[in-house]
């Protein structure tokens, strides 16, 4: 009988454990995963409108209003976006469903701080109730400059603070006017250029030669004599069933890694990658976080590693120079170059700085978070040295700024459309990085290279940061 009682007690604890699991999981769902789950575009509840309170504002880091609500005569609220297109891909829209910060912080802007108290006070004083405001890390001065420089070239500009992961600007074109989304919904949603897609976070492009930084990292780690190794570039090299050409078939002569990176020599990196092998290269790609999902407030696409450990030689050499099936987002490239600037430490990107309650108090300040370590301090210093050389006397001279040393890497990504995409990733000042950028311009033959755009963005961003 006593045995049985002991067994019964054990069964109690087993079942109680099941219920505690339920409680724990429910808590995790609503406290941790809430934002990610509930902001999904399929959630019909996002269309819910509550007219008993004014939706909170979206504000940039200097206090400029990006989205606000205005009371209309019929007692309902109308959402206004004073900066319209300029911040469209950040604010998103709140009309036909929600996107951007409007979606990510939907429940924050619809929440009253100290709700119970405010509601009672609202009845007593008949004062308008206002939801919490969201302050984003974006600086509209830099954002506007980036927007003007991008003009009507399809592509994206991401500006990030390397040491924290704060997004300072996030521009993408084509864009849309969030004030007009409901009115023009039918054109917008089926438009061939998909203006509603934020190319900065959702656009996936082959990385082109910017990928050589990753290849360079894996060479440093897997080839003992890399510093003394040279390669004789004749402008083209044959591998298995693939011939790799340097840009315009230019023969670069005898190059070491620094020179190869400076002039962006395809043959050098293809040959070295062949010697390292696909397994080692893939290892480094995985370590630099190319495929690990980062958490970000806005909708983003996952970058993809298109290289298996068992890949053929042709696949390997193509990947090593940034072609092949590997594809990245501008946001990821900004994270990667920021990591190099930040002594190898990749930070979690974020765009919501804090929440501002209607009584003016600050809450839920985002704390910068380390994501992963992509390389050692020494390796990042070597890369910096090479990247400075790219801008000073290599392919990236168009990004040079007088008085400031810029580190960067250019890229040209061939793709299925036949029109090359132009890339530039970099940071400045090289010795004490304040800003990092990733710029991509689709169809660069028509719209020009990303390099001068990136240079100007860096210059203006530094000037803005200086003046504040």
């Amino acid at each position: 009988m006593n045995n049985m009682k002991r067994s019964i007690r054990r069964i109690f604890w087993l079942l109680a454990l099941c219920f505690f699991l339920l409680l724990g999981y429910l808590g995790k769902l609503v406290l941790v995963e809430r934002q990610g789950v509930s902001t999904n575009a399929y959630n019909s509840r996002l269309r819910y409108v509550d007219n008993s309170l004014r939706r909170g504002d979206i504000i940039d880091i200097d206090g400029e209003i990006l989205a606000t609500s205005v009371l209309q005569d019929d007692g309902t609220y109308m959402r206004k976006y004073p900066r319209a297109r300029m911040a469209a891909h950040i604010t998103g829209y709140s009309s036909v469903g929600k996107t951007g910060v409007e979606a990510a912080e939907n429940f924050e802007v619809m929440t009253l701080h100290n709700e119970f108290f405010q509601r009672i006070m609202g009845i007593a004083t008949k004062k308008e109730l206002v939801g919490n405001s969201v302050v984003v890390t974006v600086d509209m001065d830099i954002q506007s400059i980036a927007g003007d420089l991008l003009g009507n070239a399809k592509g994206a500009v991401v500006v990030m603070e390397p040491s924290t992961g704060r997004i300072l600007a996030l521009q993408a074109y084509p864009d849309f006017d969030p004030n007009q989304v409901a009115a023009h919904w039918d054109q917008l949603k089926d438009h061939e250029d998909s203006p509603l897609v934020n190319r900065g976070t959702q656009g996936v492009y082959p990385p082109g030669s910017t990928f050589k930084l990753v290849t360079a990292l894996s060479i440093m780690e897997n080839m003992k004599d890399w510093q003394t190794r040279t390669y004789e570039c004749t402008g083209e090299a044959a591998f298995q069933d693939k011939v790799i050409h340097c840009y315009k078939n230019k023969a670069h002569g005898t190059v070491d890694m620094k020179q190869a990176l400076t002039v962006s020599c395809n043959c050098y990196f293809a040959q070295m990658a062949k010697e390292i092998g696909p397994g080692k290269l893939r290892e480094v790609m995985a370590r630099v976080g190319m495929e690990s999902p980062a958490k970000f407030e806005l909708a983003y696409s996952q970058s993809k590693i298109g290289l298996e450990a068992s890949a053929t030689e042709s696949e390997l050499v193509e990947t090593a120079i940034g072609q092949g099936r590997t594809a990245v987002t501008p946001l990821y490239m900004a994270m990667f170059v920021s990591a190099i600037a930040n002594e190898g430490i990749m930070m979690q990107p974020y765009i919501v700085d804090h929440i501002q309650y209607s009584n003016g108090k600050v809450g839920k300040q985002t704390v910068p978070k380390k994501l992963t370590e992509v390389c050692s301090t020494q390796e990042s210093a070597i890369l910096r040295d090479m990247m400075v050389s790219v801008v000073d006397n290599g392919t990236g001279t168009a990004a040079a700024i007088s008085g400031v040393s810029v580190a960067g890497k250019t890229g040209t990504a061939e793709n299925a459309t036949g029109n090359d995409h132009s890339w530039f990733i970099g940071y400045a000042p090289a010795e004490d990085p304040k800003v990092a950028v990733a710029v991509v311009i689709e169809n660069s033959r028509a719209y020009g290279s990303a390099t001068p755009v990136a240079g100007k963005v860096i210059r203006e961003a530094l000037a803005q940061l200086e003046s504040k």
């Binding site: 009988m1 006593n2 045995n3 049985m4 009682k5 002991r6 067994s7 019964i8 007690r9 069964i11 109690f12 079942l15 109680a16 099941c18 219920f19 699991l21 339920l22 409680l23 999981y25 429910l26 808590g27 769902l29 609503v30 995963e33 809430r34 789950v37 509930s38 999904n40 399929y42 959630n43 019909s44 509840r45 996002l46 819910y48 008993s52 429940f107 709700e115 119970f116 509601r119 609202g122 009845i123």
Partner: protein
Amino acid sequence: MFDLLIMLSRYLFVFYIGFFLWQGIVYIAYEQGGFLGSPYRAVSIQRRLIIFMHITAFLILAYNRETMIYDWKTVLFGAAGCVFLLVAIHFLDRFYYEGCPLIWTGMLFLMDLSLIMLQRLAPSLAYKQLMWMTIGLAGMLMLPFFFRLIPRFEVFEWAYIIICYGLLLCTKIFGVERNGSTNWLRVGVFTFQPSELVKFLYIFYLASVFRKRIEWKEFITTGVLSAGVVALLVLQKDLGGALIFFMTYMVMLYIATSNEFLFLLGMGAASFAATLAYKIFSHVRVRVAAWQNPWADIDRGGYQIVNSLFAITTWGLLGSGLTKGMPKSIPVVESDFIFAAICEEFGTLFGAGVICIFIMLLYRGIRIALDSRRRYYSILAVGVTTMLCFQAFIIIGGVIKLIPLTGVTLPFVSYGGTSVLVSLMMMGLLQWVCVYCEQHGIDEDAPPIMGIEGGQDYE
């Protein structure tokens, strides 16, 4: 203005369930020798809280926002529900003298929640649900008389299992399909789920066999017969039912033999069987895929679960407020997914409270089993408690995506005539065991009552 009241009512509902649970703790503390307040007062507060919750909810539900007047039909139904609750409170004490009051209040709280949610989601179902509850309650009140007429009902073990198989085979042959499972049987105008009735009989059967000393013969016959029941349910695509029967069998076998090895062996065999089922049946694979990544197939396979997650996460801890959410976007929300609707409109805190009520029922059920002086009744009580609580676990777990979804009802809360009827009967049985042991327990030289948390060891 009315919206404002709904907003404020959210705090009220969280208070109701929080205070309700606190009173349960007050009662248990007294029983364990501590003192947080009078246990009698605690139970009477709990009863009042149920009535208050009922009135608050129906005041919200009955108000028509367009015409700004109260809908008399809903008011009437609310009043009928209130009468039902009062009658239940009154008679349960009379018919089950000295039954556990926490089980009654917990059960009534859940039933009241069911009436409120169904009135909110589909009023016509709420009427039917109330009718079934009334029938179930009447049947439950008759149960003690019935048991008194047939004093030694443990001797009919073979009859129980034969009826079980009869019912299941009938379903297999004459069954109609609903919601993807062919476990419904039509008799005249009624459709019902025989697997629910089988639950009741099956527990009787197992308890009757296990009351004796268990030799290989008993072990093998019960094992084979249980495997047969589980297999029949799997064939009817009633995976949840199969899981519940299996778990109940394992638990009852374990407490009857106190053999951990057998229990682990059974679990191992079950994992093997589950893997096999995954390989063989496509509908199992569909369920598992929808659980692993519902986002990959939002439009079809993952639709239910994704919408359920939206409902739970969208409004946060306090919910949208009664009538303000969109629970109807979830298919079959009134039966399997009612927990998601509760989380949506009453908030996740309230949902957690509902889980705590099940923990309370579990605790009380296990206490009854521990306090009972006869092996047969102990096994019976554990069987009933396990079945009910495990069922609650797998459906809530399915709805919040902790485990793959298996379509079973949430006891007392989900819409379903047979489910309510059988759940009530099982509670009646549990309480009857409690009453019986109170009355007949003194004459045996059993050790004193043991607490679950108590560090006593009687080895």
